[in-house]
């Protein structure tokens, strides 16, 4: 086996891992403040990709503005979803949140399938990032390098914002003890809504970045979210860094499997999940409950 094949597959794995990390981070943040699993996270990612495609196709708005506009718009939409739907489920069994967002995912996916079928809409790589560089041991397409770099920066920035800033400290207070945080004068409902919006914006950001790699496809979200669920079960949602690290790690594991035993590439994440459940039921980074 050549170094080129190996590093090429590792890069592909790292790109998948970048999307796993962005989405599982969002899931972990939402789980922290709302206590629910957002099944619609994959659908938001898909809508993000389609929004970028739609902006380019109908309004001639390019990749870079889309990378800012789409997450902003989707973040607002997410806040609307939180206010209109999830807020009404507060205090109920968290399973209802999972079911409601599952319904939302079906609505979004079903609508896009009806309009665009199940084939992908091609989205061009932005001009500045076309081509690639020869690193000596491998050829690195610029856009793929950018996806990995940008996702790492965004994940780190999100992690820093939550773990190291004053606003983040408030958020963590809401996560730990919402009642006490409220009593100390924090506007808890607003913080929850904004946090949900930010997590949705992260998913939409991932969607825009994915459009040139995977095209905009109505099914891209549900295919991804189930793997991300496995990632989240493996990492545990107790720690944000855990969510990020397991995202990249499992992407890499998938890439390696593609090199050594391709038929198992689809299922390797699930197999790892099964093994983790047997050995460490609380997850790699989870605290035993």
């Amino acid at each position: 086996m050549s170094v080129q094949v190996l590093s090429g597959q590792l890069l592909l794995g790292l790109i998948n891992g970048a999307f796993y990390a962005l989405l599982s981070l969002g899931l972990a943040v939402i789980f922290g403040v709302l206590g629910i699993i957002n099944f619609a996270h994959g659908a938001f990612y898909m809508v993000g990709a389609f929004a970028a495609w739609g902006l380019a196709t109908y309004l001639d708005v390019g990749y870079w503005p889309a990378l800012v506009l789409v997450p902003l718009a989707m973040g607002l939409l997410g806040m609307g979803v939180e206010r209109l739907m999830l807020k009404r489920l507060a205090g109920l069994d968290p399973l209802y949140g999972l079911l409601a967002t599952f319904g939302l995912a079906l609505v979004l996916e079903g609508t896009f399938r009806q309009v665009y079928g199940s084939s992908g809409q091609p989205y061009p790589v932005p001009e500045a990032l076309q081509g690639g560089v020869n690193l000596g041991f491998m050829f690195l397409p610029l856009y793929r390098g950018w996806v990995v770099a940008a996702s790492i920066v965004v994940c780190l920035a999100t992690w820093l914002a939550i773990e190291r800033t004053a606003l983040g400290a408030r958020l963590r207070a809401v996560t730990e003890r919402p009642d006490v945080a409220q009593a100390l004068g924090l506007n808890v409902p607003l913080l929850v809504t904004v946090t949900f919006g930010v997590a949705v914006a992260l998913a939409a950001f991932a969607g825009v970045m994915a459009a040139p790699v995977y095209q905009a496809n109505p099914l891209m979200g549900s295919n991804l979210i189930i793997v991300v669920f496995a990632v989240v079960v493996i990492g545990g949602m107790g720690s944000l860094s855990g969510a990020i690290l397991s995202g990249y790690g499992l992407g890499l594991a998938e890439g390696m499997t593609k090199v050594f035993y391709p038929p198992a590439a689809n299922i390797v994440v699930f197999v790892i999940m099964a093994v983790v459940l047997m050995v460490r039921p609380a997850g790699l980074f989870g605290r035993a409950s």
Binding site: P94, L95, G110, Q114, F270, V271
Partner: protein, 308 residues
Amino acid sequence: MRLPPLALLALAALALLLAAPWVIYPAFLMKALCFALFAAAFNLLLGYAGLLSFGHAAFFGGAAYVTAHAAKVWGWPPELAILGGTLAAALLGLAMGALAIRRQGIYFAMTTLALAQMLFFLFLQAPFTGGEDGIQGVPQGRLLGLIDLGQPTSAYYAVLAIAALGHLALYRIIHSPFGQVLKAVRDNEARARSLGYEVDRYKLTAFVLSATLAGLAGGTKALVFQIATLADVQWQMSGEVVLMTLLGGIGTVAGPAVGAFLSVGLESALATSGLPVAAVIGAVFIACVLVFRRGLVGEIGARLKIRI
């Protein structure tokens, strides 16, 4: 002797279903009955053990594949083929359940979904499943050497008998001492544990029973409709059975069957309407969760203060 409301209801439903093929297309009824049994089996887990499995398509579809393969390639008679599929679902339930019950609540749901997706990919690639085409043209044969499953009306009565027996079994399980402990685990796991019950063993047994009956439904479906496809093992199918149960009423005996008939009816009505079926189903899902959490049967039961 005064019969309890549930028994009266069951007798009335049975009478209606016995007469139904004169009024309603048998294929529709058979589909609804298979899903009714599937949803009722799922409800044993969600409604009575409080465990939301998002991977029940694995048992339904897994059994469908095994039954179809046994009947078509191995030439097994229908009753053995269904039995084989059911047994396969039970074993699968044992394996998946043993893993999934290691996590609680929301993690349990995600784990079952992920395990079922793994099975989906295995079926997608396995040589015997026919990939995207599935197993088609499964021979129907004669059930127990007597009942010709190729004839719609007799096939319908066979399916009705299977679904009725399945419901009876579930009713017995729910109202047995085992079922009582299950409800105790659902309502307060820590207390059940402190009373000396081995909670995990009860959960796993419930999981296996639920998987087994879901498999019975899937195997029956594969035989009477002569097909097993990827749609039977896909996550949408797992979602659909959750919706049926929610629509009828989680934790009610009659709810899942009612939900299955409503859902199958809704789908066949939508099929010709040109509306996106998945999107409408999703909207019904959201509406149910937001304003109609008790479901139809649960709501009626609560209004009339009876257990049905």
